[in-house]
Structure formats: structure tokens, C-alpha cells
């Protein structure tokens, strides 16, 4: 009886659709898209500026250019030296961060509401008027090269770049990961040129979210970002197919002192705008996106082979990858990878059950409010995604309805369509002397790299 009551209450509550609060979207004469979303309560205001392009817009020979440009925005501007800029941000108790993802550079800053004008002026100064002093360029690029060493000392962090370069290859924008050589090629002129063509009105999105006065905010944003040259929107390439394997491919990265093997198993996936995104999110959450997921249950909960095993679906502008990630002690490498493959095969062969689908629907909806609309900066992030990927507010407002509408047949069709167990790409990072024979099991033509060497998977 109690259980039945509980189930009824549950349905009522979970069906209450979370909706985006009211916001405005406006295009300034220079092409800058401006969103404003007011939320009172906490006296904070969040500024989120997006520059379309992201790492996808890195020139082929200069991976890292978008990222270095973003890092340097605050290191010398028309109004501030690097030191003055940092004094200002820190003195206001503000935050300022900048960096690219696959398709956009995000500049994210937050200030107390009373500092709205000073905060916005700082953000606009950095985004629109950086001076890229030679000395700062030199220091930043040199630090990045050492940063790669620090990354390579951390196997869990390094494997991601090995996987990206190996799976996508240098012919695909997602496979062009900065390395020692590409950082070395970046010059001040490259950075200044990139900024001049990309940080322009038609390529900018400015989102103001939090507690602020909208009329005043509109005036300030128009004065600052509205004065940027219009320029041109970044011409994204129409498509870039994910390389398809004709046979399994294996990369083995040697770190002789490693006591556990880190591994990624990758296959082609989808893009953010795929019509399958809701059922695929549900299926992947069941497969490897929550604690009791099939893959974590098998590798961690039941067998104790690892502290964590997961899968993720890349949700970028272009088609990306679906990856399984985990690690295990050196001598259980084969056991863990075999088990991961078995779980993958079970998903495609047997599909999921009605109970599993009901469970994952409740889970995804249960976490949606705190992941998406709890804070003003979360909402700013959602608005930015909508703009970059050309999605409507129904993405949020209809989310629960769309989750509810997914049928078991649809979920299983998506599972069969995207999760395949043939011609996979494997990346193993560990003690090669001890796991080389294991690695060969998954693909006869083994490619090897050493973690201490410069570069990633490509030669």
C-alpha cells in the first residue's frame, strides 16, 4: 500500500515540467546577439560571451590557437595591463574565465550586482580590446608546453588527448589537439589575426543573467558590445565525417611506471542536434551515465575491477564519438576490457527492459532541475547552447514531455543503431611491456607511443 502511494506521488511530481524563466533575445545592429535573463534573489550577475568557432576554427597547422587567444584576453587590454586587469577582477571578488570547446569560445564572468558596470566594462575590454603584448604571448605559449608535461604525468588526463588524436585523426577538427610543436608555431600575429576576424559582432553572443536592471543593462551592452565591428560570422564547414574503421584499431601508450591501465573504447556517434538526442541520452545514461549503469555495475559494483567505468556521447556541432572510459590494475587489463565489450554486446543484442527505461526516465528528469535551471549561470549556459546549436526554448520546456514520450521500441532502436561492437577504436595507456600482448588481442596492427615523448597519437 505504501509503495503504491509513493508511486502515485512520484508521477505527479516528476511530470511537473521544468521551464526556462522569461528572457529576451535581441540582435544589435552590428549583429551581436544579446540575451537577458533576470533572476532576483542573490545579488549576483553573470556575463557569458560566446565567440562562434571554438577549436573547430583552429587553422590546421595551429591547433591551440583559439585556446591561447582566449587565455590571453585578460593579459593586456586597451584599458588595463595584465596586472591591473587581475587586480580589478580580484578586488571586486569577481570571476573571469575563458576557453574554447569544440564549437565556441566561452568567456564567463560573474560579479556582485552592484558592480554591474565595472564588471561589464572589464569583460568587454578583454573580449573586444585585448592587446596581446609580445611578452605575455611568449610566456603563455611556453607555459602551455610545460602544461603538456604535467598532463602527461597524469595518465587519466593524458589519455583523452591520445584518444582524440587517434580516433579522429589530423584530418578532422576534433582530432587536432595542440601539442608541443603546434604551440611552438603560434605567433602573436596569428593570435591578433584570429581575434580580429572572430571576435566581431556577427560572431558574438552576449548573455546577461542574474539580478540586474534590464534597461540599464541594455544600454551598457549596446555601448560596449554594440560598438564592435560587425565583421562576418565564422563560416563553419558544412560537415566533417568521422573516420570509419574497416578493422579494429589499437593505440598503446607506454608509461612504464603505471600500475594501472587506462583505456578508452571509441566508436562513431552523433551530433548535438540529432533528432535521436533524447532517446540516446536515456540509453547512454543506462549504459554508462550513472552509478548503477550497466558498465559501472559490471566493472565496479559486481567485480571490483575499477573505481569507475562510464560511457559518454559527445554532443558537439559535428558528429562525434561514443566512448567507454575506465581503468584497472595492470594485470586485470584484459579482464576489464573484455567485460566492457561483453556489456556493450549485451546492450546491442538484448536491448533494455521496460523497467530500465522507466528508471532512467525518472533519473534524468530528477536531476534535470539542479543541472539546468537552478542558478542564473546555469540558465545562461543553456541559452548559449540553444543559440550555438540553433535549438529553441522547447529544448528545455518540452524536455520532460519528450523523455516521457520515448517508447521501449525507440530506445532499443537507438541502442542497436549507435552501440556497435565491431571495428572499435581502442586506446590503452599503461605499462606497455606488461600489456602489449593484451593490446594485440583487440587489433593486430598495434600503434605505439611513449607518454614521455612530445606529441600525441599522430607522428
Amino acid at each position: 500500500m505504501k509503495r503504491l502511494l509513493m508511486a502515485l506521488v512520484l508521477c505527479a511530481s516528476l511530470n511537473a515540467q521544468v521551464k526556462l524563466p522569461p528572457y529576451t533575445r535581441e540582435v544589435l545592429p552590428n549583429g551581436t546577439v544579446v540575451y537577458m535573463m533576470q533572476r532576483t534573489g542573490l545579488p549576483l550577475v553573470s556575463f557569458r560571451v560566446l565567440v562562434k568557432g571554438g577549436t573547430e576554427s583552429d587553422p590546421v597547422a595551429l591547433p591551440g590557437l583559439a585556446s591561447v587567444t582566449a587565455e590571453l584576453l585578460r593579459r593586456g587590454t586597451a584599458q588595463h595591463t595584465a596586472a591591473q586587469f587581475s587586480e580589478e577582477i580580484d578586488g571586486l571578488g569577481g570571476t573571469f574565465g575563458a576557453g574554447p570547446n569544440d564549437q565556441a569560445t566561452t568567456i564567463n564572468a560573474e560579479f556582485l550586482s552592484k558592480d554591474f558596470d565595472r564588471g561589464l566594462a572589464l569583460v568587454a575590454d578583454a573580449v573586444l580590446h585585448p592587446t596581446f603584448p609580445d611578452e605575455e604571448v611568449r610566456k603563455t605559449v611556453a607555459r602551455r608546453v610545460d602544461g603538456l608535461k604535467s598532463t602527461k604525468d597524469s595518465p587519466g588526463a593524458a589519455i583523452n588527448s591520445y584518444y582524440r588524436t587517434f580516433f579522429f585523426g589530423g584530418g578532422h577538427p576534433y582530432g587536432r589537439v595542440p601539442d608541443e610543436a603546434s604551440y611552438d608555431r603560434i605567433r602573436r600575429d596569428n593570435i591578433a589575426d584570429y581575434h580580429k576576424s572572430m571576435y566581431v559582432g556577427r560572431n558574438l553572443v552576449v548573455i546577461v543573467a542574474g539580478d540586474f536592471d534590464p534597461a540599464k543593462a541594455k544600454a551598457r551592452v549596446t555601448e560596449t558590445f554594440g560598438a564592435a565591428p560587425a565583421g562576418n560570422a565564422y563560416p563553419f564547414v558544412a560537415d566533417a565525417p568521422v573516420p570509419k574503421n574497416n578493422a579494429p584499431r589499437v593505440l598503446l601508450v607506454d608509461k612504464p611506471d603505471a600500475t594501472q591501465t587506462y583505456f578508452v573504447i571509441a566508436q562513431p556517434g552523433v551530433r548535438r542536434s540529432t533528432p535521436d538526442r533524447v532517446p540516446l541520452t536515456l540509453v547512454n545514461t543506462l549504459f554508462g551515465g550513472r552509478f548503477t549503469s550497466m558498465i559501472n555495475d559490471a566493472l565496479r559494483i559486481t567485480s571490483g575491477l575499477t573505481y569507475g567505468a562510464s560511457s559518454s556521447v559527445q554532443m558537439s556541432r559535428l558528429d562525434g564519438a561514443i566512448t567507454i572510459n575506465s581503468y584497472t590494475k595492470t594485470d586485470t587489463t584484459a579482464q576489464a576490457i573484455d567485460l566492457a565489450l561483453q556489456v556493450l554486446k549485451n546492450l546491442t543484442d538484448k536491448g533494455i527492459s521496460a523497467d530500465q527505461l522507466a528508471s532512467v526516465k525518472a533519473y534524468v528528469k530528477g536531476f534535470y532541475p539542479t543541472n539546468t535551471v537552478e542558478t542564473a549561470d546555469q540558465i545562461a549556459s543553456v541559452l548559449g547552447e540553444m543559440e550555438i546549436f540553433g535549438l529553441g526554448r522547447d529544448e528545455v520546456d518540452q524536455f520532460f514531455t519528450r523523455v516521457d514520450a520515448v517508447t521501449l521500441d525507440q530506445a532499443n532502436a537507438v541502442a542497436r543503431k549507435y552501440y556497435r561492437s565491431d571495428n572499435l577504436t581502442f586506446v590503452l595507456l599503461g605499462n606497455a611491456a606488461k600489456i602489449r600482448d593484451v593490446a594485440k588481442k583487440y587489433g593486430p596492427q598495434l600503434i605505439e607511443r611513449k607518454a614521455k615523448d612530445p606529441g600525441w597519437a599522430s607522428m
Binding site: 512520484l10 571578488g93 612504464p256 552509478f291 532541475p369 537552478e374
Partner: protein, 434 residues
């Protein structure tokens, strides 16, 4: 000075202090509740005042292992059920163990509130110790150690540094436990740990979110109050003797870059000097205008540098972490750090810089209050470490009260050579090892 910064003040009204209500159950469990109907969700945190400081040699790491076992089955909800039932009802969880506390964190839609009380009460009262689950979980914990210590240069050096700085006090051993102890924990160790620390009177429950206080009170009385009160863990007797001279230790392992850790003994969370040290750590390492960023990172000596001291039940450590750049002699980064610490001892911190640090601390505290999860964590942490959750609402005044003279005095008192441990990871060529 080009820039003048006004002081930030937190107001308890804005922080929503008036919405917080507390209650102590008959069995001694303290309940702290804040209603917040912004999202239809709840953060439910349990702070058990037991951690690795309550362990003994041979069973180090058992607090953390126990934390894992809390998810592996009780009387009503068997192995795997806690997570399965929770996720099926739209919730999720995590937990963490430190030297001092073990904290269980549940996040779920309001509709699962009663269920969560039922499941939490079940595992607090009637945890099962399934031998099969113990063995598989042992593998999980060892994998966690392999990731965060054995295959993490920073983790490995930090473990060595702390074991060197503390000779007698239980902060000597790592929260995860020594490898041989991980291999040897027995069911009896787990049971002893449970009976020592998992008494309701040794726990604070914090609930923030879309709930009504009366409803929480009613559910607490129904599910948690019947759990009997027991003796709390015995006091930790051992006090760390005063350090009588600098300690140096090195770790040689294959690595591409060195790492340095500097540790200074400092007081526990309730000591007034701890607030001063919080300001010191902000001055040293918060933001690109901080002293260590400018002196070490911007100057190209280090890839990263930062110092902090956390809240602890017993006297603890102020830690500075530096990763020197390629080709930089660790002696040079060390000298730069010591120069900065000497500057704190010999020169008064300028008023504007002190103002900046205080603003950073208050704004940062403010940001942690944005989410129900952030507030649940802060309320519990202040209750347990500072002795009263309401200290959160006077934090602005405590920070404000710190003067430049306090900073100079505290720097002189703690940042001495004889109070210092220096741990350095020296890279050896990878080929040498195997």
C-alpha cells in the same frame, strides 16, 4: 592606487538565515533544515564525526572503506538496492571521507523524501556486511588509491609529505589507508568502526530544498529517532609533539616535471588564527593578482603554485604546492616562496590588498550558497567544524576583523624553518626504473 574597492558584506537576510530551523532528536541527532522552493529538489547530507583520525595502525583507511560499504546493502534494502532504488526514484548520491568526518550526500526530487529517510535509516541502523561485497569493494578502493595516489605524482608526494610532518598524530596516515591495510581489512574492522562512529548522536543531518520543516521533523521522528543513542567515538588522545626542526624528504620516480610541497603546522578550525590563515592563503594564491601567482607563475618559475589550510578537528597543516617549470631548479622556486613568506612576516600587508583578499573570500563564500547542495555542505561543515552552523552568518565579520597586524603575527608564528616540512618529487628518467 588606481582602484579603490569597497568592502563587501554578507547579510544574513540575503543568505536566508531566517529560513533555517534546527531540532535535536531524542537520540541526539541534530537536524538542520532550510526550506528553499526554487527547484523541486532536495539535498540531504549526513555528517558523521568520524574519519581516519579515529583509526589505528593496521586498519588505516577503514573509515573510507566503511563509507563504500554503506552502499552495499542493509536489512531492508539489500546489496545494490540503495543506489538502484534511489536512481529509479530520480535521485543520486555520493559520499566523502576525510581525516575528521564521513559525509553522505543525497540529491533527489522532493517526491523521494520519505523513501530517502527509510533508506538512510535502514543503513544507519542495520547495515549488512556481506563478505562477497566486502571483497569486491576492496578492489574498488584499491583502484581508487591507484588512481589518486599510486598513479598521481601529486597524490603520492602529498601522502609522503603529510606522513613526514605528522609523526604521532593519526593525521600521519592517508585517508585511503596504506596499501597493506587495504589488503588486510577484516569484517571485524568494519563492524568495530560502525559501532564506534555511526551513532545518531555522532551525526548531523542537513536538509536544504523543497521541503517543509514540519514534514522533515515528522519523518525524522518516524525513521531516525528510534535508532538508539550510543557512546560517541573515544577522544583521539595522541597530540602531535612540537616540531623541533625542518624536515626534508624526497620522492624519486619517473616524471616529466618536479613537484614541491611545503607544510607548516597550524591550529585547528576553532582557533582564531585559522581565520587569519584563511586570509593568508587568499593573499598568497587566489587569482592572478595573488602573491604566489605573480612571484612564481607569471615570472615563469612555476606552472602552478598555491597555498591553503583547511578546517580540521585537531591541529593541522598549512600547505603550499608548487610545480616548477622545466629547467627551473626547485631551489629557485623554494627561495621565491620563502621570500614571499618572509615578506608576510616583515612587511605590513597594504590596506587595499587586504581589502581585495577579504572581498574575494566573501564573494567566493557567496557563490557556494547558490545551490541547495552548496548550502547543505556549508551548513554542515560550519556546524561540525566551527561548532555552530550559524557561524556561517557571522563569517563576514570574522573575516572583516582580521588585521594586517594579525597577518604579520601569524606569519611569524607559523612560517618558521623549524615548523616546516619540505617534500620534493625529483623526476628520474623513465628508462631507469624498468
Amino acid at each position: 592606487m588606481r582602484t579603490i574597492f569597497a568592502a563587501l558584506f554578507l547579510s544574513s537576510a540575503l543568505l536566508g538565515q531566517q529560513d533555517i530551523k534546527t531540532y535535536t532528536l531524542a537520540n541526539g541527532m541534530k537536524v538542520i533544515v532550510q526550506e528553499d522552493h526554487g527547484v523541486p529538489n532536495v539535498a540531504m547530507y549526513f555528517f558523521y564525526k568520524i574519519g581516519s583520525r579515529n583509526e589505528h595502525p593496521g586498519a588505516t583507511g577503514v573509515s573510507h572503506f566503511f563509507e563504500h560499504m554503506m552502499f552495499n546493502g542493509a536489512k531492508k534494502y539489500g546489496p545494490k538496492e540503495f543506489d538502484r532504488v534511489m536512481e529509479k526514484n530520480g535521485g543520486g548520491n555520493n559520499a566523502y571521507t576525510s581525516n575528521d568526518v564521513t559525509v553522505y550526500t543525497d540529491w533527489f526530487p522532493t517526491s523521494a523524501l520519505e523513501l530517502m529517510f527509510d533508506m538512510e535509516a535502514d543503513r544507519i541502523r542495520d547495515l549488512a556486511f556481506d563478505p562477497k561485497m566486502i571483497e569486491s569493494e576492496r578492489g574498488v578502493v584499491y583502484s581508487e588509491r591507484r588512481s589518486s595516489v599510486d598513479n598521481s605524482n601529486g597524490g603520492m608526494l602529498s601522502e609522503l609529505a603529510e606522513a613526514t610532518a605528522f609523526e604521532a598524530h593519526p593525521y600521519h596516515w592517508p585517508v585511503l589507508g596504506w596499501p597493506s591495510d587495504i589488503e588486510s581489512w577484516t569484517m571485524e574492522d568494519l563492524k568495530n568502526h560502525w559501532s564506534m562512529g555511526y551513532a545518531p548522536n555522532n551525526c548531523v543531518m542537513v536538509i536544504v530544498g523543497d521541503v517543509k520543516f514540519d514534514q522533515v521533523l515528522e519523518l525524522s521522528k518516524k525513521y531516525l529517532e528510534p535508532i538508539p543513542r550510543r557512546e560517541p567515538p573515544p577522544p583521539v588522545r595522541t597530540k602531535e609533539p612540537e616540531q623541533m626542526g625542518e624536515r626534508r624528504v624526497t620522492l624519486s620516480k619517473p616524471a616529466l616535471l618536479p613537484i614541491q610541497i611545503f607544510l607548516y603546522h597550524v591550529p585547528n578550525a576553532k582557533d582564531p588564527d585559522t581565520r587569519v590563515l584563511d586570509v593568508v592563503s587568499t593573499l598568497l594564491s587566489s587569482g592572478q593578482s595573488s602573491r604566489l601567482y605573480k612571484r612564481l607563475v607569471d615570472s615563469q618559475l612555476a606552472l602552478s603554485a598555491g597555498g591553503y589550510s583547511g578546517d580540521a578537528f585537531d591541529p593541522t597543516l598549512f600547505q603550499v604546492y608548487i610545480q616548477p617549470r622545466t629547467g627551473v631548479d626547485p631551489a629557485a622556486t623554494e627561495k621565491a616562496l620563502f621570500d614571499e613568506l618572509t615578506r608576510l612576516q616583515t612587511e605590513t600587508v597594504p590596506e587595499a590588498e587586504l581589502r581585495k583578499a577579504k572581498n574575494q573570500m566573501l564573494a567566493s563564500l557567496y557563490r557556494r550558497l547558490k545551490t541547495i547542495a552548496g548550502r547543505a555542505d556549508l551548513l554542515g561543515t560550519y556546524e561540525v567544524f566551527r561548532g555552530d552552523y550559524s557561524r556561517l552568518f557571522t563569517e563576514d565579520k570574522e573575516i572583516e576583523a582580521v588585521t594586517a597586524a594579525d597577518i604579520q603575527r601569524v606569519a611569524q608564528k607559523y612560517f618558521t624553518a623549524r615548523n616546516r616540512t619540505v617534500a620534493t618529487l625529483i623526476p628520474e628518467k623513465p628508462e631507469v626504473k624498468q
